[in-house]
């Protein structure tokens, strides 16, 4: 902790951007996925359009069940962006960062965001193997759009070339955009609503809250301490920055990994 603290000092003001997703409100509608795809120039294909193994998603909504039989079955949807694992801080324990041989992915202490630099990545996919949340996807194809559809591309986000890994960036370009505006207005600080991810903005249910987890004025600060809050696979020590809220015990349990008889009953 001490080391991290000193590190922060050297870097000046730091933020810890994170997300809280209220699973009780999430309806599984998929607007977050589409907003993300539209915002971040994600490709789509004719064949196997919805194939989860080969098609790229930065935000993906998982559907989990309590496993009981009809009519006691219950379903819960879990939207899953990159968890932006902090690990133990200082580049240790963010699973993908620690394995990348190209330093194409990095943990930023200024923002708490795990970056992915496509031009640096050479596609070895160690990070995909290392990530316990399957947030990383590989570009198997050249970025092709049907004629005319490139007009809808967002110039603030790079179009990724074939052969590199990509993942959710917490819409980093929106932070760049917000900072730009603040700087031009002579401010150094951002308001909470100035930097919001595309999924947060789109969610019709208002289930996603985004902000600085360290800032007491931000909504996420209190939400993450809610008694129903949990994080995915917390035991792995990845220290993710995406929190979930659910009043369903089974859903909270499903977010954890258990070995042997742990967690039963």
């Amino acid at each position: 902790m001490k080391e991290v603290h000193q590190d922060n000092k050297r870097h000046g003001k730091t933020y810890k951007y994170g997300m809280v997703v209220d699973l009780d409100k999430c309806t599984g509608c998929g607007a977050c996925m589409v907003a993300c795809m539209a915002e971040n120039n994600l490709p789509f294909r004719k064949e196997n359009t919805n194939d989860r193994l080969t098609q790229n998603f930065w935000m993906r909504v998982y559907k989990i069940s309590n496993g009981l039989s009809f009519p006691d079955t219950e379903i819960c949807y879990i939207p899953r962006p990159c968890q932006h694992c902090e690990g133990r801080g200082h580049h240790h324990g963010t699973p993908c960062v620690s394995v990348c041989p190209a330093t194409a992915t990095d943990y930023s202490h200024e923002t708490g965001i795990v970056s992915q630099i496509y031009t640096r990545c050479f596609g070895c996919r160690y990070c995909m193997a290392a990530c316990p949340y399957h947030v990383r996807v590989f570009n198997w194809w050249d970025p092709r759009w049907p004629k005319g559809m490139n007009k809808s591309l967002n110039p603030d986000v790079s179009v990724r070339m074939r052969g590199v890994v990509e993942k959710c960036s917490f819409c980093y370009h929106r932070l760049q955009r917000a900072r730009n505006k603040a700087y031009a207005e002579g401010r150094r600080e951002l308001h909470e609503d100035e930097y919001q991810t595309a999924c947060t903005q789109a969610c019709p249910a208002g289930a996603i809250t985004f902000g600085d987890l360290d800032n007491q004025k931000h909504k996420v600060y209190n939400l993450k301490d809610n008694p129903y809050a949990f994080r995915l696979l917390e035991k792995l020590g990845t220290n993710p920055k995406v929190y979930y809220l659910s009043t369903k015990d089974w859903a909270r349990k499903a977010g954890e990994v258990f070995v042997g008889n742990e967690g039963r009953g």
């Binding site: 209220d22 009780d24 409100k25 309806t27 599984g28 509608c29 998929g30 607007a31 996925m33 589409v34 907003a35 795809m37 539209a38 915002e39 789509f44 004719k46 196997n48 359009t49 919805n50 194939d51 989860r52 098609q55 998603f57 909504v61 559907k63 069940s65 009981l68 039989s69 009809f70 009519p71 079955t73 379903i75 819960c76 949807y77 496509y118 031009t119 050249d142 970025p143 759009w145 049907p146 005319g148 559809m149 490139n150 007009k151 809808s152 591309l153 967002n154 110039p155 603030d156 179009v159 990724r160 070339m161 074939r162 595309a198 903005q201 789109a202 969610c203 019709p204 249910a205 208002g206």
Partner: protein, 733 residues
């Protein structure tokens, strides 16, 4: 020079060249350049990376469903790069649904009709000849004036998506001026809702639910968070129900564990088609235990005594339990919870509300609301006038040909003695044409896709072959357009002005203005302008009925004083419609179940459509982004999954992920089987909205269309299509 000298020189030169070369920057410079080439030039070759530029935002209103959400587009120079929900818009306040967010794919996609086109090959062969607007309008005028000369104006039919707003009204006006009664409104639950309002409250009104104000929502199969009503608004209401401040209990009655059922506080699966019986059963308990609003019943209703007698005699919890499959104990509990809630609300409209459904079911559910006195008050049901008042148009001028045509009976029998209640019966279209070939000579289609969205697709395909001339006003190459003879493409919704009437189900009036946020990408025109050009070329009273110079002027005049404010703010709203509470009438009529078509000997299972938020199934094809979000248990490659209970699978030898043949009296499809504990045994759930053949390869060829397996079952009272399912057989391949 001898060999040795040669070699010495060669070696010397090479060594010198090599050393010299190593001392130039060529190597590392090229290495750098090549890597930039792979990063920039190579992907750009495929993607066509667009330029940066000035960013602006523009507001408009979405058009992809009757939800009427406000949108804000983000533009970079003259390109639209994103559609977002509009903050502060009275319908959706910043939220957006997956379909709305995919709208750009529809704008820029290869499925746009680039200019007026004339069919160049066989129907449906996708061979088109681009023609001028002049020629295209000439083609239509020639057909229409021929028919007019022959006195067969009533053989022209027109299908529109709605009957509200200036554009559908222009079509309606055109039909009146031309002389045909056959204006057909695409089917939806609104047909039945309006009818129930007319019968029970004596009002020409639509149903609006104050979802935000209710604290107990009893949904009879409504896909509240699957695109029912105005989808974003309902999802936002759902979030309110889940917050501490406006907490509400949600009960979902549905045979399948839909998203709505999953998010409900309690899911009660019942046999599909028995919802009416359950509603009356609940009424039985409420009346028996005197939990109803006596004050309201006494002062504001008719016919309660007869209705009570019928309900008490026939719908005891035990009897209803036998019909519906829900235990008597649960029925009693549910009835008590509903009646004891402070602001209980029973909502109706199966799935997304795109099928008319059973009128008596709607009335039985509405009776529950009356029973607890929850009509025209906060947290209740409101009778909503059709739309915000706008300036009236001059009356239609009709010559004798028009008057004769208009006086003929409608082809679908709506408004005749047989079907006195309804104004159109869209699902009857294939039946009529197939029975009476030649009855329809020209079919005009605007913002609807009857070829795809009508039940019993093969009958529709057959009917299309019998219509000599089909004109589509579609922006996209949808199925109807693909099978048309002429396409007169309308501007895309992001390219045009249009008034947007109050969204479906909303209890407060909102008049929105759709504004062009991007210049037309293709050689398209306002459908209103095209129609007026046709009218003008037809001449006489038809031309005189359209005194406007163009559509935008008409729109300005129609909106009158509201135009300026609308252009500035994008919407007009008022606190409420202020409709007075009329008398409510109970209809004491024994329940006549609407049975699923097909005999249960040959077809032992029941197929029900599964409506999904991520899958559009109306006139708009599902854009690739939405299809991409489908679960892997809904679509795999080009095959869709049907859902069956593992118990059913065991009975019929079906296994997870295996191919099977799904057969109904109306059609057959190859499907994959997904075993789910979330569906009642004996049922087969099939996603609705796949199996497109229009648009292009990105949309078409994925799965099968549920409509192709369904038939039309006529509602015993209204005569509308009340189909909720069909008997089916599922056998493994």
């Amino acid at each position: 020079m001898d060999r040795r000298t040669f070699l010495e020189m060669l070696v010397g030169f090479s060594a010198g060249a090599g050393t010299g070369f190593m001392l130039t920057p060529v190597n590392w410079k090229l290495m750098d350049d090549v890597s930039i080439w792979t990063q920039e030039v190579w992907p750009d070759f495929f993607a066509g990376i667009p330029e940066r530029g000035k960013v602006t935002h523009a507001d408009s209103v979405c058009d992809l469903c009757p939800g009427g959400c406000g949108i804000t587009v983000r533009k970079v120079e003259d390109r639209v790069t994103k559609i977002e929900g509009r903050e502060g818009y009275p319908v959706n306040n910043g939220g957006i649904c997956p379909l709305g967010a995919s709208g750009l794919q529809l704008l820029y996609g290869p499925w746009r009709v680039p200019s007026p086109v004339r069919r160049a090959g066989k129907r449906g062969a996708k061979a088109w000849e681009q023609i001028t607007w002049e020629d295209a309008i000439g083609d239509v005028v020639k057909r229409l004036s021929d028919l007019r000369r022959k006195g067969k104006t009533d053989s022209v039919a027109c299908v529109v998506a709605s009957d509200q707003g200036t554009v559908p009204q222009l079509f309606s006006r055109f039909m009146k001026a031309y002389g045909s009664p056959n204006l057909i409104r695409a089917a939806s639950a609104e047909d039945t809702n309006e009818l129930a309002m007319k019968l029970m409250q004596g009002k020409k009104a639509s149903v609006a639910y104050d979802l935000e104000g209710a604290d107990f929502i009893l949904s009879f199969g409504s896909g509240l968070i699957e695109g029912w009503g105005s989808p974003v608004r309902v999802i936002q209401a759902h979030s309110k129900w889940r917050s501490d401040k406006n907490r509400a209990t949600v009960i979902q009655i549905e045979p399948r564990l839909s998203n709505t059922a999953a998010k409900a506080d309690k899911w009660h699966p019942i046999k599909p088609g028995t919802e009416t019986a359950l509603a009356l059963g609940l009424a039985h308990v409420i009346i028996k235990e005197s939990l109803y609003d006596i004050y309201f019943i006494r002062n504001n209703t008719y016919g309660f005594n007869d209705w009570r007698a019928m309900v008490m005699a026939q719908y005891s919890p035990e009897a209803v339990s036998r019909t519906t499959g829900l235990s008597a104990e649960n029925i009693v509990k549910l009835a008590r919870a509903f009646a004891k809630a402070r602001r209980p609300l029973a909502v109706w409209g199966r799935g997304k509300g795109t099928t008319p459904g059973c009128l008596y079911e709607c009335m039985a559910v509405h009776s529950l609301n009356a029973l607890v006195g929850n009509i025209n008050k906060p947290g209740g049901v409101w009778a909503r006038p059709p739309q915000v008042a706008t300036n009236r148009w001059p009356s239609v001028k009709q010559d004798s040909a028009a008057r004769t045509g208009n006086s003929k009976p409608r082809l679908d029998g709506a408004g005749t003695r047989q079907y006195p209640l309804v104004s159109s019966r869209p699902d009857e279209l294939p039946g009529i044409i197939n029975k009476r070939p030649g009855a329809i000579q020209v079919l005009l289609v605007h913002e609807a896709d009857p070829y795809y969205s009508t039940m019993d697709s093969s009958a529709m395909a057959e009917a299309f072959d019998k219509i000599p001339f089909v004109v589509s006003f579609s922006t996209y190459f949808d199925e109807t357009a693909q099978h048309a003879d002429l396409i007169l493409p309308n501007h895309h919704y992001l390219e045009r002005f249009e008034d947007v009437p109050t969204p479906i189900g909303l209890p407060k009036p909102v008049l929105g203005l759709r504004k062009p946020v991007v210049s037309p990408q293709f050689n398209t025109r306002y459908a209103g302008d095209t129609l007026m050009a046709i009218a003008s070329r037809l001449g006489g009273t038809v031309a005189q009925s359209f005194p406007w110079k163009d559509y935008v002027i008409l729109l300005k005049q129609t909106l009158g004083g509201k135009w300026d404010a609308l252009k500035k703010t994008g919407y007009f709203t008022a606190a409420s419609f202020g409709t007075p509470l009329g008398k409510f009438e109970f209809y004491a009529k024994a329940y006549e179940p609407v049975e699923a078509e097909g005999d249960s000997e040959t077809y032992p299972l029941t197929l029900i459509p599964v409506e999904l938020m991520r899958l559009a199934h109306g006139a708009i094809g599902n854009p690739p982004f939405c299809t991409k979000t489908l679960e892997e248990t809904e679509l795999k490659g080009n095959d869709l999954f049907v859902e069956v209970n593992p118990k059913t699978a065991g009975d019929y030898g079906l296994a997870e992920g295996r191919y099977a043949t799904l057969e109904t009296p109306r059609g057959k499809a190859k499907v994959l089987v997904h075993l789910s504990e979330g569906i009642m045994p004996g049922l087969v759930g099939m996603p609705k909205g796949l199996g497109h053949t229009g648009y292009d390869d990105y949309l078409a060829g994925k799965g099968a269309s549920a409509n192709s397996l369904m038939g039309v079952v006529e509602d015993p009272i209204s005569g509308l299509c009340a189909t909720w399912g069909i008997q089916a057989k599922l056998s493994s391949v």
